[in-house]
């Protein structure tokens, strides 16, 4: 069964949490690359969602004009 995809806001919150952890917490080198990788994945998800939303909006507006 497909996992429910993470929402944009949830993803941004996740990135911010990771960032807070590495900025303010006791840095843990063993976890650092894992954290950065996780953040990068979340950023990718957000970017994709933004692009999809943008395309959808453009499509809708195009629809309106035709």
């Amino acid at each position: 069964m497909a996992k429910k995809e993470i929402g944009f806001n949830e993803a941004v919150k996740g990135i911010e949490e990771i960032l807070k952890n590495i900025e303010e917490g006791e840095p843990d080198i063993d976890r650092l690359s894992e954290d950065v990788k996780k953040a990068a994945e979340l950023i990718k998800v957000c970017r994709r969602k933004l692009r999809e939303t943008e395309e959808k909006i453009d499509g809708i507006m195009q629809d309106l004009k035709s």
Binding site: V12, E16, L19, I22, E23, A40, C46, T53, I57
Partner: protein, 418 residues
């Protein structure tokens, strides 16, 4: 009673006529209201005139009148053009007439001239009175205070189906260049003549009673050039319009002054075509508003996306730079630790060397040869080192070892240190 002086009816009527002409020579300017007006096939105009100078409008005088065909055409044309209304029942006229008496038809007035300005003034006064009354009743602007839907789609039309104006209206509405769809429904009414008032009010009643909801009511007429619009100065029509629950639009073809119905309507334009154009323009405005809103939404959405992108970029940069910083700090820490370690190692090595040196020196000091060399001697008895005088008894043989040899001695006495 003597019958000697008898005369015939014709003679009597002739007598009356002669006396009348003698008593009322020439012409009179008279004010009266037209109660009835008919035109016969020969073009002669027959009127019934009334006078009602008493308050309450009760008829106090009545007379027949004629306008001969030779006069009627020019008189009526001039009158209609000047007064703005044709000669018709209900209007008051100031006319020039001679008193006629005919043996067969009796008394009548022969009208030879009419002053249109009197009627115009009178109509204007009546119109003013209607407006004053509507104002006093506080209803004059009631219809105008309603709001017209942005897209007035269902339209109740009060008109006469065979009027050119109605056809123009329908054509303009259905063939609008934007392809907007309107649903007009005709409520047939008489739009001129005496029955106008009753007929228009009945049409308004039918619209009220209908199950259908209408966005607006349109009252239109048109076609004729010099037509009588004064029926639309009627108090009753105007009052109905003010009380109507949806906006009423009029296009009844006024030339100069608005009729009272125009005045109280939500909007009044000159022609039925103009009403149709207004409805189309209103809808266009509505569409433009929607397009404007859509464009605002699009701009807003684009801004949200762009600001989210900025936020993401900033998060990304911060993540990357923080991670790099951590790695660098750790690396520096590691370098420092390595250095410390090296330093510690060197110290330890040096310490070890010092220790071994010291030990070596100590060991060197312990070497008996070295000791003897510095002037100390070693004493043995039977090959064993003697460390205490107590271990010796007088007469025992001891050997004293020097650096360069030894000497054998006999113990004479022993003394312990006090």
């Amino acid at each position: 009673m003597s019958s000697a002086g008898k005369i015939t009816l014709t003679e009597l009527q002739g007598l009356i006529r002669d006396k009348l002409y003698e008593a009322l020579p020439g012409f009179f300017w008279v004010v009266a209201e037209i109660a009835e007006i008919k035109l016969n096939s020969a073009g002669h105009c027959y009127l019934e005139l009334t006078g009602n100078e008493t308050p309450g409008g009760k008829v106090t005088a009545r007379v027949r009148a004629t306008i001969w065909a030779s006069k009627y055409l020019s008189l009526n044309t001039f009158f209609t053009a000047s007064a703005g209304i044709p000669l018709r029942p209900g209007i008051t006229i100031l006319f020039k007439a001679t008193v006629e008496y005919h043996e067969l038809y009796g008394l009548s007035l022969n009208i030879t001239d009419i002053d249109p300005s009197y009627t115009a003034g009178d109509m204007a006064l009546r119109r003013e009175a209607v407006i004053s009354r509507l104002t006093a009743e506080g209803v004059l602007t009631m219809n105008r205070e309603l709001s017209l839907p942005p897209y007035p789609r269902n339209i109740a039309v009060i008109s006469s189906s065979n009027a050119a104006g109605y056809q123009d209206f329908i054509n303009h509405l259905t063939n609008n260049p934007y392809g907007y769809v309107f649903i007009p429904e005709l409520f047939e009414a008489v739009m001129q003549g005496e029955s106008t008032e009753r007929s228009v009010i009945e049409a308004l009643d039918r619209i009220s009673a209908s199950d259908e909801h209408y966005d607006t009511v349109v009252i239109i007429r048109g076609g004729g050039s010099t037509t009588d619009l004064s029926w639309f100065d009627s108090y009753d029509i105007a009052f109905y319009v003010t009380q109507f629950p949806v906006p009423v639009l009029t296009g009844i073809g006024h030339e100069k002054d608005l009729t009272v119905t125009d005045l109280v309507a939500w909007k009044s334009v000159k022609t039925p075509t103009a009403v149709a154009d207004f409805l189309v323009a209103q809808t266009l405005e509505c569409e433009n508003m929607i397009i404007g809103m859509a464009s605002s939404i699009y701009t807003e959405a684009a801004e949200i996306i762009s600001s989210a992108e900025e936020q993401l970029s900033s998060l990304q940069n911060r993540t990357a730079s923080t991670a790099r910083l951590i790695v660098r700090v750790k690396r520096e820490q590691l370098g420092y630790q390595a250095e410390t370690l090296l330093r510690t190692k060197n110290n330890l090595l040096r310490m070890g060397k010092d220790l071994t040196d010291r030990l070596e020196r100590s060991l060197h000091n312990l070497d008996p040869a070295g000791v003897l060399n510095r002037g100390f001697t070693l004493t043995t008895k039977d090959g064993k080192i003697i460390r205490s005088s107590a271990a010796l008894e007088p007469g025992e043989i001891i050997v004293t070892h020097f650096e360069d040899g030894k000497a054998t001695s006999i113990v004479k006495e022993t003394n312990k240190k006090q």
